[in-house]
């Protein structure tokens, strides 16, 4: 459970757990988990990121699969941990052992569970935002759309700039708040042009940014995490 | 220590290399030449050029080419390069065409005043609509550059599939010439408001005649 989902969007976590259990997987939630360390890493505080990362590696040492409701956290865990622990052979080995076990939620469904229809139903018009890390580091583009195509009653309308960054970028959103806000507004203009009544993404941080901008603009358009859509019946 | 010595010394220190050390093996050069027939190449050349607002003409014979050029230049002052085929095909001899320049000042003055510059081309590249102009006693640089309209007359055998084929025939252009220019359509810019304008410094109009 990413720290953002844990603290701000717990329903997303519950939805993910529901879907996984529905398709027959046993879900365990190690309660000692906190964060993957990305905020510190992205802000250039590598020692502090390492401290948190070591804790993560310990907590998840014995997990068979680690399913994550976020593209950016998954790419931190799968792609950056090796870089962080370059000079610590013991943790480097752990990071390498972690890599094949960590899965972003939609990729887990399609590639490990090998399921593209989870029996969901949602009568809404939605549009899909391609979260940057998921898109460019994990190759997540068609997967969520395939999953959404099996949701009964759902209509998916593509926005014209689905792949453009929403402007979150972690501490960027507060350090360069005005630029970040401008990027969010460009994004929501595109969303509003689709006429969709909700925007879906695989990353809660994007949804927080986009949702915050929609709300500030007085728009009724909602945000839904992919897990919430797939959990819906 | 000269600047040269100190720069090279710093480069070697940065890379951990010794003076005189051979380089690591280079990645192989990447030349891929597709198969194609002459007619397909002509067609591709013309299509690419037309997309760039270049004008094209397929002449049935040297006479046909000459007549076409005569029509285009319509008696206006023109400069022709010293390319042998322009002379052989009577193009350089058309009225209002000056040619045979050996002196650069005279050439520059004539080109600056001319309405048309007529050249041949050493090669053409079909996939991009490109003319390959190699500077030589036969082809001066300014003829295809100063006048506002450029007319190029080329025999079809000189049309290559593309850049890869050119570089495979001419892996060392510097051995031949001080200047090889690839010309792909008329001069253009979009520097102001991204609006396309043709004929900024080089010719704004280009005619390619294939014989």
């Amino acid at each position: 459970m990413t720290c953002i989902v844990d603290q701000l969007f717990p329903r997303v976590g519950m939805a993910m757990a529901d879907v996984l259990e529905r398709i027959g997987w046993e879900v365990d939630f190690p309660e000692d988990q906190t964060c993957c360390g990305q905020p510190a890493f992205n802000t250039g505080y590598r020692d502090e990121a390492r401290q948190v990362a070591r804790h993560f590696l310990r907590v998840f040492r014995d997990a068979e699969y680690i399913v994550v409701p976020s593209g950016s956290c998954t790419s931190m865990l799968a792609d950056r941990y090796e870089e962080l622990f370059e000079r610590e052979p013991e943790f480097l080995a752990e990071a390498r052992r972690l890599k094949p076990r960590v899965w972003e939620f939609s990729k887990f469904l399609l590639e490990v569970a090998q399921v593209d229809d989870v029996g969901a139903r949602l009568d809404r018009i939605v549009t899909f935002h391609d979260s940057c890390h998921g898109l460019r580091e994990l190759g997540i583009k068609d997967g969520p759309r395939r999953l959404l195509s099996h949701v009964r009653g759902l209509e998916l309308r593509e926005m014209d700039i689905a792949e453009e960054c929403c402007g979150f970028g972690g501490t960027f959103s507060v350090e360069f708040a005005e630029v970040s806000g401008g990027m969010a507004r460009t994004k929501i203009d595109s969303i509003l042009r689709t006429g969709a009544d909700a925007v879906v993404a695989i990353d809660a941080s994007c949804l927080m940014q986009i949702g915050g901008a929609l709300s500030r603009a007085g728009s009724p358009v909602e945000t839904m995490h992919l897990a919430e859509v797939l959990a819906h019946r | 220590m000269t600047a040269r010595e100190s720069v090279l010394r710093d480069i070697r220190a940065a890379l951990g290399r010794e003076a005189g050390q051979a380089p690591a093996p280079a990645p192989p050069s990447r030349i891929r030449i597709p198969e194609s027939e002459v007619d397909a190449r002509i067609e591709s050349l013309f299509r690419s050029l037309e997309k760039l607002a270049g004008r094209t003409y397929l002449a049935l014979s040297p006479e046909d080419a000459r007549n076409f050029v005569a029509e285009v230049i319509c008696g206006e002052p023109s400069v022709a390069s010293n390319a042998p085929i322009l002379r052989e095909w009577g193009i350089a001899g058309l009225p209002s065409v000056a040619t045979g320049f050996q002196d650069r000042e005279a050439l520059q003055a004539a080109c600056a005043a001319a309405a048309f510059g007529i050249t041949s081309a050493d090669y053409a590249l079909a996939d991009t609509g490109t003319l390959v102009m190699i500077a030589s006693p036969e082809e001066a640089r300014l003829v295809s550059l100063l006048p506002p309209v450029h007319i190029a007359v080329i025999p079809r055998a000189r049309i290559l599939t593309g850049l890869d084929e050119l570089l495979s025939i001419l892996p060392h252009p510097a051995d031949l010439t001080s200047s090889m220019v690839l010309i792909t359509g008329p001069s253009r810019t979009a520097d102001i408001e991204q609006i396309l304008v043709r004929g900024v410094h080089g010719p704004g109009e280009i005619h390619v005649i294939v014989v």
Binding site: D6, Q7, P10, M14, T34, A40, N42, G44, Y45, Q51, H55, C132, E164, G167, G170, S173, A177, E178, V179, S180, G181, G182, M183, M208, G212, S215 | A3, L8, D10, R12, R17, P23, A24, A26, P27, S29, R30, I31, R32, L107, Q108, A135, R141, L145, L163, P171, H172, P173, A174, S178, S179, M180, V181, T184, R188, D191, V197, V200, H201, G202
Partner: protein, 476 residues
């Protein structure tokens, strides 16, 4: 007190017209590129990118060898190779040469390297008259501005801006039609080309096995600059060298497409020394200035030397959501966009403009389009870490580092982490709106920054709590 860069960004974001112009122009360049690199148009594109990266890597990692080979071959074709340690040396050389030749008027084609070394200002101080001949550069030179974009220097100006610049500096009647403005420039500059004693160009590539330079353009001004004057000086960074003429089969395909969506630019000049005997026109003398100016220092950084692979196509700018909002003039140096954000601290020191590597959401769009596969996001992350280390050594970021140390401590202690979550949910149930209602002094920091632009979600139970409750419920 906002820092100057913050003020500049704020103003740009507030300029609706400029915002629209920058977004539209970069969008257009990006879509032209997309059209010519799609798998239909160019199925080999990804392979070409890989090759571009490998060849550049090889050239950079054997740079001394290829520069020496270049010099030997260029000299064999009667060009003179000058090694310039830094900007001053390069300028000294040109000024000295101009004096020797009795040349005052100098024509110039577009070159970011010459912008980097502030060539025009410095030559003007020497009493020389350097004239930019690329239309966009000509306009901004007259307007005393810096280029706005690596490939499109006047991206930010309207035809009305141009009309004003021309009337004021050329003394012509006010003209707002773009075709006519271009004709005015053509007429003025034609005179200069034919009268100038020296032509100065950059070089997109230095070809080691030929001793030749390659200059690409669309207007014809670079051809005129390198043909009409008797003396041609090319100034290029040492990183521009590639091993073989045949490597142009890779790089020419990458450059035009990535920059402007053109399979080839209108003119590609392959120039090897002064005119040969028998050739009628062309320069009588050619000088090639190889510029170091900090590049050897970048070279020493194994992880980050890949920024030297850059072929200056500008694609990263066109795809960067941050550049597309803040524009080129808010970057502190001549190089803007993602590549600018990386090489500025590399050349000028990380503490020179410490905010620059942080002005990115790390979206990765730049790396996705870079024709030579420079890993720009990774370089930004490396630089962020370096900035913080340098700041810590200089005692400048005590509070921030303390903040992250505290954060890390909380994150290593699950019980504390969960407790802090409980506290947050107690004080932020309405998405923190009450924070923005606090008086100024208390209304600071990240919460305020966030709330200045958008709302926060309400904070209530954490997943930890919900999970526990559900388990309890299931057990019953």
């Amino acid at each position: 007190m906002p820092a100057p860069y913050e003020q500049g960004i704020h103003e740009t974001l507030g300029d609706q017209r400029l915002q629209a112009a920058v977004y539209a122009s970069t969008g257009r360049l990006a879509s032209h590129r997309r059209a010519v690199v799609s798998t239909d148009a160019l199925p080999d594109f990804e392979d070409l990118r890989t090759q571009g990266n490998l060849i550049k890597k090889h050239a950079i990692e054997n740079l001394d060898y290829y520069l020496e080979q270049f010099e030997a071959n260029a000299t064999a074709h009667s060009a003179k190779v000058i090694w310039a340690r830094d900007a001053a040396a390069a300028v000294e050389f040109v000024a000295g040469l101009a004096k020797e030749k009795g040349a005052r008027l100098i024509v110039k084609s577009k070159s970011m390297t010459t912008e980097e070394i502030e060539l025009n200002e410095r030559l003007t101080h020497h009493g020389l008259d350097p004239v930019e001949t690329d239309l966009g550069e000509f306009i901004i030179q007259l307007a005393h501005q810096r280029p706005y974009h690596i490939v499109a220097p006047a991206l930010h100006l309207t035809r009305f801006d141009v009309a004003e610049v021309f009337t004021k500096h050329l003394g012509v009647e006010r003209e707002t039609e773009i075709g006519k403005q271009t004709k005015i420039a053509r007429g003025v500059l034609r005179e200069r080309f034919l009268a100038a004693g020296i032509g100065i160009s950059g070089a997109n590539f230095l070809i080691a096995d030929s001793g030749a330079i390659v200059v690409v353009e669309n207007e014809g001004n670079a051809r005129l600059t390198t043909t009409a004057p008797r003396v041609h000086v090319a100034i290029a960074g040492i990183e521009k060298v590639i091993p073989r003429a045949q490597d142009l089969a890779v790089f020419l395909k990458l450059l035009g497409r990535s920059a402007t969506g053109q399979p080839l630019t209108v003119y590609t000049s392959f120039l090897a020394g002064p005119r040969r005997s028998g050739e009628i026109d062309g320069p009588d003398e050619v000088y090639i200035v190889l510029l170091d100016s900090g590049r050897t220092r970048l070279l020493a950084d194994r992880e980050k030397r890949q920024s030297l692979y850059c072929i200056r196509c500008g694609a990263c700018l066109n795809h960067c959501p941050v550049y597309r909002k803040i524009g080129g003039h808010n970057y502190p140096w001549v190089y803007s966009g993602p590549i600018g954000a990386v090489i500025t601290p590399q050349f000028r020191g990380v503490l020179n403009e410490p905010w620059l590597p942080f002005a990115s959401s790390l979206c990765g769009a730049c790396a996705e389009v870079c024709p030579v596969k420079i890993d720009l996001p990774k370089l930004l992350l490396d630089l962020r870490s370096e900035v913080n280390q340098a700041k810590t050594r200089a005692g400048k970021n005590r509070l921030e580092r303390l903040g992250f140390k505290l954060w890390a401590w909380v994150m290593r202690h699950p019980a504390i982490y969960q407790l802090s979550g409980l506290v947050a949910s107690a004080i932020l149930p309405d998405g923190g709106r009450w924070i923005s209602k606090l008086p100024g002094l208390l209304n600071q920091g990240p919460a305020r920054a966030w709330l200045s632009q958008r709302d926060l979600p309400p904070v209530s139970k954490s997943f930890h709590q919900m999970w526990r409750e559900r388990r309890k419920g299931a057990a019953q």
